[in-house]
Amino acid sequence: MDVGLFAQYVMNGLMLGMMYALVAVGFTLFFGVLDVIKFSHGDVVTVGAFTALAAFAGLHALGFNSPWLDLVVMLAIAMMAMAALGMLIARYLVMPLRSAPALNTLLITLMLGTVLRESVRLFYPQGGNPKPFPALLPRNSIDLGSFNLRLDNLLMLAAGGLVIVGLQFLLNRTKLGLAIRAVAQDEETARTMGINFTAIVLITFAIGSGLAAFAGVMNGLYYNEINFGIGLYLGVIGFSAAIIGGLGSIYGAILGGFLFAGLQTIGTVLLPFASAYKDVFAFAVVIAIMAWRPTGLIQEKISERV
């Protein structure tokens, strides 16, 4: 295989990995802070993408046509709307169930994901059909041999990277981040130290859901299309990625995201039927990893109360 083709595969893998990583980071944040797996996260990505599309339609109706302005406004609206949605979900569905068995929260968020998905399908005009997403990034590209380097892919990768770095900065260098990490580590002690537990949880959910909206817009820009099913797929992969990287660790989630994308790409290259078996291959490896390292690659340090 020539270098250009190899580079193309690497680029494909990087793009997918970035999207999976963004979703996986959300899962890990929620788990760290509340010990809960919020399965509806994937579908929040879908709702975010559709909100952005609706914002775009609205902007066009109002006559604004500049791609950059459109993009910024769409992102802003989608991220803020999803942050609000995330807070609502936290406040009314997840927090009341903290004392219930973990399975109940798992199921309630799974069902919530179904509600979000079906709502988009039923209530967004013609939501059942795939919808074209506007191509707002510059479409220039350079041909380096058989590798087609596109400006919009590079921009998206850069943006995704910035977001992740920004998140790390937020978590490690700011007071808010300190509070989030404290709550994730030990809820009771954090409360006795004067941290407003509810506020921190809500803010974490807001951040995670905002990330989901960003991932949704990125997905729309990359494929130039969104449909109501993208969330389910991304959600499960993001969850698997967060798991293999080890829940509770941001680095683990990012690692897991890129690892999963890498597995899919390797599966595509090595197996004879192109991408037909890539998901089978990737999920089989996930199961194998879980058998080998039951709490993920970056081991979770848990102590169990007996």
Binding site: M1, D2, L5, Q8, Y9, N12, L16, Q126, G128, N129, P130, P132, S141, D143, S146, N148, R150, Y223, N224, E225, G229, I230, Y233, T265, T268, F273, A274, S275, A276, K278
Partner: protein, 390 residues
């Protein structure tokens, strides 16, 4: 006083007579069915077909000479084989429904033939093009008014070879529909012998990401990419082709002959080739009549490519029920002897497998956001050129 009484009695008698007369005019209700993809990626075709069948029923009910009053029962097969079998079972198991016009998606039509046979339920297919639907078994219950994909692919291979292209990469979906296209196109191309197929890729009907296949195709550098599948993934493949910088001709089948394809791609749709059996709706013998009546009903959606065939199928069912009565066995018998019956799509004859022969194939190229017939297009005359066209 007596006069008032007489007037009242006369009035009452008139009322009773009127009611009785009305009762005499009340017709027996007969249920007929329609199955198509009303949700999902190809919903516009299903809805167009449903509206067309509905039009046939409405026109018949408005006709005072009709013997029965018809009610259309509509079910959605979602273009998924398993859902199709469920709704087919439901419709066929209901003894009140006499016959139905069924299926746009070949994947669903081929899955349900056994179900219709099991329940002895007569159906006429209106949109699915896979030959196996009528030819795999000799079921008396299954008929079809539209053509099969064999002729479509013959014309396709012909055009590609004559335009001087030498290498073709094939992408097809893994349902029987896509596999059928792959099979017939490959055979047709091999028979002509001028071009060869450099790679074949099967993709799932709901696949999102084609970068893997397209990257491999890019390495093969074909002149043409042939696509055997439906609109939703057609849109995705074409758009991702552009993202990877692949400059081949996009050559597709009747599966993308739909406005949704053009709406999904915008300017990228330019220069896509497509083929379908039968003439465009306006050029059909009854085309103008159909379009007039269709537009008068003010439906939300256009009839799309196969709406006229759905109308023809439903009309034939209604004619048969008028002739032999609402009895499934008699309808099956009568549909076994269809020779040169008139319809808006021309004269219909069912062969021994229930298949109508539609000889004409229309070749399309998308020009300026519309499906234009190839011979009338600027690509044929040389004013515009497809990628690599000489």
């Amino acid at each position: 006083m007596i006069r008032t009484g007489k007037i009242i009695t006369a009035g009452l008698m008139a009322a009773v007579l009127a009611l009785a007369a009305g009762d005499v005019n009340a017709k027996d209700k007969v249920k007929v069915g329609f199955i198509g993809p009303l949700t999902g990626g190809v919903a516009v075709n299903g809805i167009g077909g449903r509206n067309s069948a509905d039009l046939a029923v409405k026109l018949r009910n408005a006709d005072s000479k009709a013997k029965y009053e018809y009610e259309l029962v509509v079910l959605d097969d979602e273009c998924k084989p398993n859902v199709a079998v469920q709704v087919a079972t439901k419709m066929a198991a209901d003894k009140d429904i006499i016959a139905a016009a069924t299926h746009y998606c070949s994947a669903t039509a081929i899955a349900t033939v056994d179900t219709y046979h099991k329940f002895g339920f007569p159906v006429i297919v209106w949109g699915a093009v896979l030959p196996d639907i009528t030819y795999r078994n000799k079921y008396a219950e299954v008929h079809r008014v539209n053509g099969t994909m064999i002729n479509q692919n013959d014309a396709n291979a012909d055009l590609i070879s004559n335009l001087g292209y030498k290498t073709v990469a094939v992408i097809h979906d893994t349902t029987d529909y896509g596999k059928g296209h792959n099979e017939y196109f490959s055979k047709a191309l091999a028979k002509i012998g001028k071009a060869k197929i450099v790679g074949t890729f099967g993709v799932t009907a709901e696949q999102q990401d084609f970068t893997a296949e397209l990257t491999q195709i890019k390495a093969l550098n074909p002149d043409v990419i042939y696509f055997g599948g439906l609109t939703p993934i057609g849109v995705r493949i074409r758009s991702q082709m552009d993202k990877l910088g692949i400059k081949a001709v996009f050559d597709a089948t009747s599966g993308i002959v739909s406005d949704a394809y053009i709406q999904g791609l915008g300017p990228l749709a330019e220069g896509t080739l497509a083929f379908r059996e039968g003439a465009s709706t306006e050029k059909l013998p009854g085309g103008k009549f159909f379009m007039e009546k269709y537009n008068a009903q003010k439906y939300d959606n256009p009839p799309e490519a196969y709406g006229a065939f759905a109308y023809a199928a439903m009309d034939m069912i209604l004619n048969t029920i008028e002739k032999v009565g609402p009895d499934r066995k008699k309808v099956i018998d009568d549909l076994g002897h269809v020779i040169d019956r008139d319809s808006i799509v021309g004269k219909i004859t069912f062969d021994d497998h229930g298949q109508n022969t539609v000889a004409m194939i229309t070749k399309y190229v998308i020009q300026d956001g519309k499906f234009v017939e190839w011979d009338e297009s600027e690509y044929a005359s040389g004013k515009r050129k497809l990628p690599g066209q000489k």
